[in-house]
């Protein structure tokens, strides 16, 4: 009996809810989210929790959200889904049915967004998510899901464009991708682009998510010697790939990863081994992106660093963009009614620290990726929409010949 009580209590504790927001009595709008605070993807999940919290706090400081003539404060209710998709689906259902939140913010990762968006669609409450880029999320005809990560199938678009402009022009490429929703979508789009660009695809290999051992794959790559290696995978996989490539003395002329490179702890874990790696980001802490609440992206990055003790990357900026999109949509709709807010989100168009927030008819944002390269531990923007921004270090020297 006692054990049962302990079990129930600890389950509730582990599910954990954190609430941020206004004092009782003030009119408020509650945003609900189920985020990875613990579990294998907590490393990236925390950017979303902190980004949502920061945005809600800052918007409240600047007067909150106006519905008609009444100022409302934003409140946040976050559950920890322990990096488990099934739990996050249950938690979103709970947020809507029991906690009766007004609107939903999304989780990290396409696999989660894919499942959780179905809850939003079923209950007809709009969800804006900043963590899932897979085209699959937006190709089901859902009306209540919006995403602020650029389309997965176009992740490598800028990279492939840049490849065509390098000297010497690379001719062969190997594509590796993990078998989760995001990476499969990336690979599908990248394959077509590579073929259109005239590159020969030597390997097109799908590997298990969370693979820790790439030695077999790397040995195969070494034997076929492609000029370019593109890896669509998550942070752990990119980390393991680079470390094992070094230990097997495999060094193509160019390698790029969909995730990891812009993130500070990825570069810290690798140290100098991170140099020469290419990646992409939809956001840079540049003063050119002005924001109504955070001044601009550069100031935001500094404030975030001061408050949370680590540098934000595009995940955090995307999370902030989600909250701001809700604020703008609610004000435009003049109401908190989910259907009216949903229609307002579809029409939203404003500049923010994350860039221009505007959703296409399927619900996804339209942002280009900037190709970046690691140089001396720093992220250098290499290629953007208008062409080269800096000279890339290409071709990559062999491991034993690196300075």
């Amino acid at each position: 009996m006692l054990l049962r009580h302990i079990a129930t209590a600890s389950t509730l504790l582990i599910m954990g809810a954190s609430v941020a927001g206004p004092a009782l009595g003030e009119p408020s709008i509650t945003l609900g989210a189920s985020v990875q605070e613990t579990g294998p993807t907590a490393n990236t999940g925390r950017y979303y929790r902190d980004g949502y919290e920061f945005a809600v706090q800052r918007i409240n400081e600047r007067g909150g959200v106006r519905v008609g003539t009444t100022p409302y404060k934003l409140a946040l209710k976050i559950y920890d889904n322990q990096s488990e998709v099934n739990l996050s689906v249950r938690q979103y259902t709970q947020l809507l049915t029991q906690d009766k939140v007004d609107l939903l913010l999304g989780p990290f990762a396409s696999d989660f967004a894919l499942a959780d968006s179905s809850v939003a669609e079923k209950y007809e409450v709009p969800m804006i998510e900043g963590g899932g880029a897979s085209d699959q999320i937006f190709s089901r005809g859902y009306r209540y899901i919006f995403g602020t990560l650029p389309v997965a199938s176009r992740y490598f678009e800028s990279t492939v464009q840049a490849l065509g402009k390098l000297d010497p022009v690379p001719k062969t490429v190997s594509l590796l991708f993990a078998d989760d929703a995001f990476d499969v979508a990336v690979a599908k789009g990248t394959r077509e682009r590579l073929q259109a660009a005239g590159l020969t695809i030597l390997q097109d290999e799908r590997y298990s998510s969370n693979t820790t051992d790439f030695t077999s794959l790397i040995s195969q790559l070494k034997a076929s010697a492609p000029d370019v290696v593109l890896v669509a995978g998550h942070e752990t996989e990119a980390l393991n790939f680079i470390r094992q490539a070094k230990s097997l003395a495999f060094s193509p002329k160019f390698y790029a990863f969909t995730v990891g490179v812009p993130t500070a702890d990825f570069r810290r874990a690798l140290g100098n081994d991170a140099n020469y790696a290419f990646g992409m980001t939809s956001w840079l802490p540049s003063p050119q992106w002005k924001d109504d609440y955070f001044t601009n992206a550069e100031v935001f990055a500094a404030d975030y660093r001061k408050k949370y003790g680590y540098d934000p990357d595009y995940h955090a900026a995307s999370a902030v963009a989600d909250v701001e999109a809700f604020a703008k949509a609610i004000e435009a709709a003049g109401s908190v009614d989910p259907k009216k807010v949903r229609d307002a989100i579809a029409q939203v168009d404003f500049e923010s620290l994350y860039g221009r927030i505007q959703f296409n008819p399927a619900g996804q944002i339209n942002l280009p990726q900037t190709v970046i390269q690691v140089d001396g531990g720093n992220v250098v923007p290499i290629y953007g929409q208008k062409g080269f921004l800096a000279k890339p270090h290409y071709p990559m020297p062999a491991w034993d010949k690196r300075p």
Partner: protein, 287 residues
């Protein structure tokens, strides 16, 4: 042809790493009949110990090996002596439950203490390699393989030739007779569990150099070690080496000839096959 050689070499070295990880689990399971579901968490803690010794005190991970082993030995000894001992003669399910509890507690304490950031131990030679007959061999994996062989031999000698080893085996074979001969089961069990944890700590130390880690790597490592122990058999530490090598080779060759998505299918498929055809493992004696 040389690709096959390279992949085979990769498989053998991977197998050595796997065997090192599974050694502690095999000892504790074979002798104490405790399936330690927190084994992966011990490996994870070993990796963090090596990480902090390296980043804070600049101690090389190979030099830190005895320190990690000692630290994990103490943890294992205390956990067995004061917690596991309470249920050591209870049904198997209870030990599974308690060690599962350890696993959850240790993982979440690690998340709180160390954060979920990915870490790696990055000594200067972490990426070093050398070529033999056209095959590139990563230095650290070769050293880990050597460490696995060394620790297995040491363990085998301990169990076969020393007084302590005889006491441990006596407790496993016939507890009543052992007690009549003056063996203290409580201490022996605690020492054995501590030893298993120390071996996990050694594996964790080297794992941190070879691969990146975070608080959540425990579960998949426990599953892998479990599979290796079943495949190799629990009667002797050599079984773990055979099981590890077998699994390492199988995964590498599957990745080459079938496809990288099928490695897990292959390894757990073989596990099921062994359980059906030869349940005591490749090296196990039939009862």
């Amino acid at each position: 042809m040389s690709l096959l050689l390279q992949v085979t070499a990769n498989g053998i070295l991977l197998g050595g790493l796997y065997a090192l990880m599974a050694l502690g689990l095999g000892l504790v399971w074979g002798v104490l009949n405790i399936v330690n579901l927190a084994h992966g968490a011990f490996i994870m803690l070993g990796a963090y110990a090596a990480f902090y010794l390296y980043t804070l005190l600049q101690i090389d991970p190979f030099v830190a090996l005895p320190v990690c082993m000692l630290a994990l030995f103490c943890l294992g000894f205390l956990l067995q002596r004061y917690v596991l001992n309470l249920i050591v003669r209870a049904p198997m399910f209870n030990t599974l439950l308690i060690t599962f509890g350890f696993d959850v507690v240790l993982t979440y304490l690690a998340q709180i203490a160390f954060s979920a950031d990915f870490r790696a131990v990055n000594p200067v030679y972490a990426g070093a390699n050398f070529a033999v007959a056209g095959v590139t061999l990563p230095l650290v994996r070769v050293l880990a393989f050597g460490a696995a062989l060394l620790l297995t031999t040491a363990l085998w000698l301990l169990l076969a030739r020393t007084r302590l080893g005889r006491a441990i085996r006596a407790c496993a074979q016939n507890l009543l007779a052992a007690r009549l001969y003056g063996v203290q089961p409580r201490t022996i069990y605690a020492l054995t569990f501590g030893l298993g944890a120390a071996l996990a700590g050694a594996a964790g130390d080297l794992y941190g150099v070879v691969s990146q880690f975070n608080p959540y790597i425990g579960n998949s490592l426990t599953a892998k070690s479990f599979a290796i122990c079943v495949i190799g058999g629990l009667d002797s530490p050599v079984g773990v080496i055979i099981g590890g090598l077998f699994l390492g080779l199988l995964e590498s060759l599957t990745a080459l000839y079938v496809g990288p998505t099928y490695t897990d299918v292959a390894s757990f498929g073989v596990l099921v096959l062994i359980l059906i055809v030869r349940p005591t493992g490749l090296l196990g004696r039939t009862a």
